[in-house]
């Protein structure tokens, strides 16, 4: 376990920034650009690594909760009910496994099928409930992801986002 992953990544960041990047031919624009991105990725990993498990659990818990509410209220034709049943199965299977990221996507795929099915034969009231739930969940999830990747500098409102530790603590 020693040296730890975070120590190894931190040492890569320093070596890349202090030794390798300065030595790249200034005329090799692709290499310079790629090296700078590599440096940025590694710096971001240093910040993210201590929180990966908590982050994935947080995302899974929220997706699981939304899916649970929807399976309980699904209303419509055959396609909607079948998709709701499969979503319920996906939630149950996830509870029995430990890979949070895989579980998140398993439920997510099943939720997508429910959205598509409800678009075909869901009741109007359920479609409204579904739409609200999906949008509200998506707003929470995108906010989490925006915090997670704020270090890229690509978010115009990054100053308004909680830090990664704040985000995984529920901010």
């Amino acid at each position: 376990m020693t040296p730890s992953i975070d120590v190894r990544i931190a040492s890569m960041v320093r070596t890349l920034g202090d030794i390798i990047i300065p030595a790249i031919d200034p005329d090799n624009s692709l290499a310079r650009e790629q090296a700078a991105l590599l440096h940025g990725h590694l710096r971001m990993l240093v910040e993210q690594l201590p929180h990966v498990a908590a982050y994935e659990q947080l995302c899974l818990d929220d997706m699981h909760a939304v899916a649970g509410e929807l399976t309980g209220t699904a209303s419509g034709g055959i396609k909607t009910h079948e998709a709701a049943r499969q979503l319920k199965d996906a939630c149950a299977n996830t509870e029995r496994q430990s890979d949070q990221k895989a579980g998140y996507h398993r439920i997510g795929f099943a939720l997508e099928e429910l959205i598509t099915a409800a678009g075909i034969d869901g009741d109007a009231a359920f479609r409204k409930t579904l739409g609200t739930a999906v949008l509200q969940h998506s707003l929470r999830q995108t906010r989490r992801e925006r915090s997670w990747f704020a270090m890229t500098g690509l978010d115009i409102f990054k100053a308004d986002l909680p830090s990664i530790p704040e985000m995984v603590a529920g901010a």
Binding site: D27, N28, S29, L30, R32, E33, Q34, L37, L38, G40, H41, Y104, H105, R106, I107, G108, F109, L111, E112, I115, T116, G119, L130, G131, V134, L135, H137, S138, L139, T142, R143, E145, R146, W148, F149, T152, G153, L154, D155, I156, F157
Partner: protein, 397 residues
């Protein structure tokens, strides 16, 4: 997993409303070709030697085998193509021209057609400034990958040493000294592009949606939904919801026009001394469609900056209200707020699919020459999706 077997045209006579595969034929063809090509596996950046060999074959095919290639250098910047600059000298006259080679990698953030891009460059020549087209290798028979060569045009995309401007020119801040000079040109050039009579256009690889129908809108939804299905690497329930909403609310396009498709700061060059736009670049997303698609593209937060008061400015030049007002005044057209809203959602969907699906897929599979850039750019998809949620909720983003 999406299947190529279901990727054909719908029943004869099916309209775009019925057929999820109703879209421009050429775009469908090249996208499906990408699915085959991706099986070739990992792609590495072309070396200068490989490029020089390809150029030799291309020039030979044009009867220019005696011409000399020198100063071949790869260009940085841009997320979708391999780009090189080189000098081509005619030994008989000594005349040298500086040229730019634009070439497709195996897979990338978007799948576009060099034949289409070359056709539209010829179509808008004389209407707005564009790099002169010199050679096209539309199917890649000489270069190994589809490619296009234009003349090199001088200029900058933002003030030298200025702040802002991430990869691919996102978040470009033009520079205070240029904004007042560039703003009227930005509007004028867009108006000119939209004013071209589509009946006069020679665009053999373009399909033209029928006016007075929802084809212009639905072809876009169908195409980007297809890209999502084939390129996705994970689950995003928001996309399923958005696709349904887009189909149910697709507007009629009364007058399809030529669109740039990626009209924004970062995609034009201007003269550092005079502030005159010298060339509009990156026409690969150009298609025939609704003006609201080009207009709303600049509402995307990724393509502007915040001013000192924290207000969003389109390409660092205007507020969104001012941008619409100036376009309406210059064009004589009226922007429909309902259509503008729909196309804002479409543009978010498009950009999110590019960055969250195609880019990640190419980075994951190593089928691009700059995986680390694509995996970096994917991060912007979350801000785009946040904006998409707010638009769908009915809140002004």
């Amino acid at each position: 997993m999406a299947s190529l077997q279901h990727a054909g045209a719908g029943p004869a006579g099916a309209t775009a409303a019925d057929d999820p595969m109703a879209m421009e034929d050429r775009l469908k063809t090249i996208f499906l070709e990408k699915q085959v090509r991706r099986k070739l596996g990992v792609y590495t950046a072309r070396t200068n030697e490989q490029i020089a060999e390809g150029l030799g074959r291309l020039l030979n095919a044009h009867g220019l085998s005696g011409h000399q290639i020198s100063g071949l250098n790869r260009m940085a910047g841009g997320a979708s193509k391999e780009q090189f600059v080189f000098t081509l000298t005619d030994p008989a006259t000594g005349v040298a021209e500086r040229l730019v080679l634009r070439m497709d990698p195996r897979e990338g953030i978007i799948e576009t057609c060099r034949k289409r891009e070359s056709q539209v460059l010829e179509a808008v020549k004389g209407v707005v400034p564009v790099p002169p087209l010199r050679f096209v290798d539309g199917d890649g028979r000489y270069m190994g990958q589809p490619a296009m060569i234009t003349s090199f045009v001088g200029g900058i995309t933002k003030q030298r040493g200025g702040e802002g401007g991430g990869p691919s020119g996102v978040g470009t801040s033009l520079g205070r000294q240029y904004v007042d000079r560039l703003a009227p040109q930005f509007i004028d050039n867009l108006v000119r592009i939209h004013a071209i009579d589509t009946a006069t256009l020679d665009l053999p690889d373009f399909s033209f949606p029928a006016p007075g129908t929802r084809e212009a809108a639905l072809w876009q939804v169908n195409y980007w939904a297809m890209v999502w299905r084939f390129d996705r690497t994970d689950a995003v329930p928001l996309f399923a919801y958005t696709e349904t909403w887009l189909r149910e609310n697709a507007p009629v396009c009364d007058e399809p026009v030529l669109l740039h498709g990626d009209y924004r700061a970062g995609n034009f060059l201007f003269d550092e001394e005079t502030g005159q736009i010298t060339a509009w670049l990156d026409w690969e997303l150009s298609h025939i469609g609704d003006i609201h698609e080009d207009i709303s593209y600049n509402f995307e937060l990724l393509f502007g900056v915040l001013d000192e008061q924290g207000n969003y400015r389109v390409g660092d030049m205007f507020t969104t209200d001012e941008y619409v007002r100036r376009y309406e005044a210059a064009s004589g057209r009226k922007i429909d707020p309902v259509k503008l809203h729909w196309y804002r959602v479409l543009n978010c969907f498009k950009l999110a699919v590019m960055n969250h699906a195609s880019a990640v897929r190419a980075a994951r599979d190593g089928t691009n020459h700059q995986d680390v850039l694509l995996s970096w750019l994917c991060a912007c998809s979350h801000g785009i999706m946040d904006e998409m949620c707010r638009l769908l909720e009915g809140n002004k983003a």
